[in-house]
């Protein structure tokens, strides 16, 4: 059975508060904060992009896993803000972790669930003994259209997970994974367009809720697990409200999702979202505990995982950088003008 | 090894010369030098031309042949010498060697740079080529950035202050006021330097030499022929040069330019002289900190003590030692390839007693110091009036 042997996260250290965005568009900050359950979001530095974030996360994952990067047989990077339309982010990551040349490699796109799609792929490659270790990364510096509701949540961050098969390496077994997919136009971006478009309230029920509940129920069916069997649950978190609602719908408690709910303090890191939530949960999980993860990507689909923590998690923790430490380090607030400058939105020519 | 003397010197006016290109600037300086030497073009045997980046600035390579052509020399062998900002001084040394070795008797050495045909930004980028392209310029480390790194460290190790650095600029502008060829003929104050825009801290705009157009030419002759052309030939007592690592970070020290120390040491030993014997010196003040480093590295002051001495006025015109009477690179201007040759021209006039308002009284022995990049090349010459 394939399992997680290490993980790493990176979140840029700049933040912008909901108040500073709302002020510009003459909106009521308090009602937005309550409505979306979010305080502030991460903002990348001008010299950061989905590739640099992916590299920082990947380097931390290698350190945590304690493997030689040359042992990686595959590296996949999922994002909706790949720096190039053609030239993979994954090759930058592969080069930057010195994984050598004998690596299977590609970029993925499935809105916010590209990273978990990559997780399923490396699980298959590892389980079938095609490779010894495989890495998936979900990383984004997502663009929020100025003045749009998504501007309050679209942020930057990434997580990298390494999968292997040897029991002595594994910190958490992935017992089962399933997916639920359909052609649903809830949120999209055309080639060359600067900002994504979305169907407003259509993104809720027919998008997020339908796919997450169906994938999770399929997981329950195939494993026989019920919500109470899990100690933790992590959902894709486009804001701080949807995951709370879908958890309740499926029979999970607020306490179960608490540790993995990161959006209120860093925003929606898109392809990083579920994976960062999973990393934050693994930072505190104990051996024997079970974690349920269901991601969501617009377009649309959800990947669901049943995970069980092993004893190795405790001894390997000394080589990991806890997500909360990363989120707190060097945290610096910027105002809307600096936010625009860092995003490259201020035109000089 | 034969003795070599300078028998003629000429400069173009330095500054933003919109009406003049490389050809016009060379002709301006060259004709003046040839007339000074009372020599005809037929007698010239060889030309060395120094220019750093004529290709980047004007799209023109092959500049030595161009110089020989424009000065009316007839089929004279011509070679371009490039050593970044030390191109001129290096060309001078090549000319010296050609005569000292006995191969030629009369050699013309020219230096030119035309920097204003491109934008200031493009010029800054081109100048960055004096450093290491792969690791310094590629990372956006500009030329002022490199000297700023040296200045920061010098301030940290020796307590050198920004005001002391500013005093170099004030002195050199004062001297330039008396130099008809200088780009700037205006006095400045310490306060004005301190309030000028920061380029790369601690260096501010007025700590930096300007972008300039200009040319300089000297005529060299073997000593036995020199008297035929000029009553007061200026003998080159020593011509020495050294190189060092291209990258600043790889040097032994950020507060000393070893290439200067080595070249100056060799020059003093060859001429059997010491720093105290020098009456007037042109040092390479591409930035104010560079003059401070030069005064220490050549040996005029102990490491860490030059800044205060300069601020106290010891190196002003007719002070303990007169430094950069031409106005230096800061006041006279820095058309990169021309500078090393201009320095020689200034010393020639000083030692002949022809420096008018900026004459150093009783000047007998002079020196020039020309640096390439952040110190990968340094050229030092010592001169004495030969009568």
């Amino acid at each position: 059975m394939a399992g997680i042997v290490g993980y790493g996260v990176h979140v840029p250290f700049y933040r912008i508060k909901v108040e500073d965005i709302a002020k510009v568009w003459n909106e009521d900050a308090e009602s937005i904060k309550k409505g979306l359950n979010i305080q502030e979001k991460s903002v990348p530095s001008k010299d950061e992009d989905a590739a640099t974030i992916a590299v920082e996360a990947a380097r931390r994952a290698i350190k945590h896993a304690g493997i030689d990067a040359h042992e990686l047989g595959a590296v996949y990077v999922g994002s909706e803000s790949h720096p190039y339309a053609v030239k993979p982010t994954a090759t930058v990551v592969t080069q930057a972790i010195e994984a050598g040349n004998n690596v299977m490699c590609a970029d993925l796109e499935f809105a916010c669930k590209a990273g978990t799609a990559g997780l399923q792929m490396v699980m298959g490659l590892v389980d079938s003994n095609m490779i010894k270790y495989g890495m998936t990364v979900g990383s984004d510096t997502s663009q929020g259209r100025p003045g749009d509701a998504l501007e309050y949540t679209a942020s930057a961050g990434g997580a990298s997970f390494i999968v292997g098969k040897e029991k002595k390496d594994i910190i958490a077994n992935i017992i089962k994974t399933v997916s639920y997919t359909s052609d649903t136009p809830d949120f999209w971006r055309r080639e060359g367009a600067s900002f994504p478009s979305h169907g407003g309230r259509f993104t809720g029920e027919p998008g997020y809720f339908r796919h997450i509940t169906n994938a999770t129920k399929l997981l329950f069916k195939e494993t026989g697990f019920k919500p109470a069997d899990f100690d933790y649950a992590v959902f894709h978190q486009p804001n701080g409200k949807f995951p709370v609602n879908v958890a309740a719908q499926l029979g999970f408690t607020d306490k179960q999702i608490e540790k993995g709910l990161m959006t209120p303090i860093i925003g929606n890191t898109y392809s990083g979202s579920s994976l960062i939530g999973l990393a934050a949960t693994l930072d505190v999980a104990k051996p024997g505990q079970k974690i349920m993860v269901t991601s969501f990507g617009s377009g649309a689909g959800s990947d669901s995982f049943a995970i069980e923590v092993t004893e190795n998690i405790t001894s390997k923790r000394k080589n990991s950088t806890p997500v909360m430490d990363i989120v707190k380090k060097n945290k610096t607030y910027v105002d809307y003008s600096v936010y625009l400058k860092n995003r490259g939105s201020i035109k000089k020519t | 090894m034969r003795d070599v003397a300078i028998i003629g010197a000429g400069l173009s006016k330095f500054g933003e010369r919109w009406n003049s290109g490389i050809k016009e600037l060379m002709a301006e300086a060259g004709i003046m030098a040839l007339e000074d030497a009372k020599i005809t073009s037929h007698e010239i045997e060889m030309l060395y031309g120094g220019t750093m980046a004529s290709g980047r600035f004007s799209g023109q390579e092959h500049v030595a042949a161009l110089m020989a052509d424009q000065l009316g020399f007839h089929n004279v062998p011509a070679v371009r010498i490039e050593n970044a900002c030390a191109s001129g001084g290096s060309a001078l040394r090549q000319g010296y060697m050609a005569i000292a070795s006995g191969i030629h008797d009369i050699v013309v050495v020219g230096g030119v740079e035309k920097m204003t045909d491109v934008t200031a930004s493009e010029a800054t980028t081109a100048l960055g080529g004096a450093g290491d392209q792969e690791w310094e310029l590629f990372q956006g480390i500009t030329f002022p950035g490199l000297y700023a790194l040296m200045a920061k460290r010098h301030m940290y190790e020796y307590g050198t202050t920004e005001e002391q650095m500013a005093s170099v600029a004030v002195k050199n502008h004062e001297n330039a006021c008396k130099n008809e060829f200088a780009q700037f003929r205006k006095r400045i104050t310490i306060d004005e330097v301190m309030r000028s825009k920061v380029v790369s801290d601690p260096l501010k705009l007025l700590d930096c030499s300007p972008i300039s157009d200009g040319a300089a030419v000297v005529v060299l002759a073997s000593m036995d022929k020199a008297k035929k052309y000029h009553d007061t030939p200026i003998k080159i007592m020593a011509s020495e040069q050294s190189s060092d690592t291209l990258r600043l970070a790889e040097r032994e020290s950020l507060t000393a330019i070893k290439a200067t120390q080595l070249a100056a040491d060799k020059a003093f030993r060859h001429a059997k002289l010491a720093p105290k014997d020098i009456d007037v010196v042109e040092v390479h003040d591409c930035f104010t900190i560079a003059e401070i480093l030069a005064m220490e590295d050549i040996g005029f002051y102990k490491k860490g003590t030059a800044a205060k001495a300069i601020a106290d006025g010891e190196t002003a015109l007719n002070g303990k030692i007169s430094v950069n009477t031409s106005g230096g690179l800061k006041g006279c201007g820095h058309p990169v390839g021309a500078t090393g040759v201009k320095q020689a021209a200034e010393i020639v006039w000083q030692l002949r007693g022809d420096a008018k308002d900026r004459q150093v009284k009783g000047a007998e022995i002079g020196m020039t110091h020309n640096v390439g990049g952040s110190g990968a090349t340094a050229v030092v010459h010592i001169y004495k009036r030969a009568d």
Partner: protein
């Protein structure tokens, strides 16, 4: 000047991972890598060495007037960093709001160096983060 991708790709292992070298003959470490050891000349025995990226600020400056390629990035901090393993290396020091001093400890991070233009290449490289 239009860059060739090759001239910048050539040292990608050094730019991404601080891969330099070491002369086994005398034990001197170099970053960036040297073809020949400065001390040993023909007796050089160069082997690859990866530097951790931990070091101390030896000198620094904040560049406000950039070259063309860095017009969008200015101002930025440049440091001469003394790596723990010995070599001195020049590099960007990212701004974390902490005051930069000679002696500040730094570690390596991975960032964009510059982007050619909307259609050109993006160059990545090591930079340093103050601790």
């Amino acid at each position: 000047m239009e860059r060739s991708s090759a001239s910048l790709w050539r040292k990608i292992r050094s730019r991404y991972n601080l891969i330099g070298n070491l002369c086994e003959n005398c034990g001197t470490a170099y970053f960036p890598p040297r073809i020949v050891c400065r001390k040993c000349g023909r007796k050089s025995k160069m082997v690859e060495k990866q530097f951790k990226g931990d070091g101390t600020v030896y000198s620094f400056t904040r560049i406000r007037v950039p070259p063309d390629t860095f017009k969008e990035e200015a101002p930025y901090n440049i440091g001469v960093i003394k790596l723990d393993e010995g070599p001195m290396v020049e590099g960007h020091v990212i701004d974390t709001g902490k005051e930069l001093k000679i002696g500040t400890k730094v570690k390596m991070v991975f960032r964009k160096m510059y982007t050619e233009d909307d259609e050109g290449l993006i160059y990545y490289q090591y930079k340093f983060e103050p601790l």
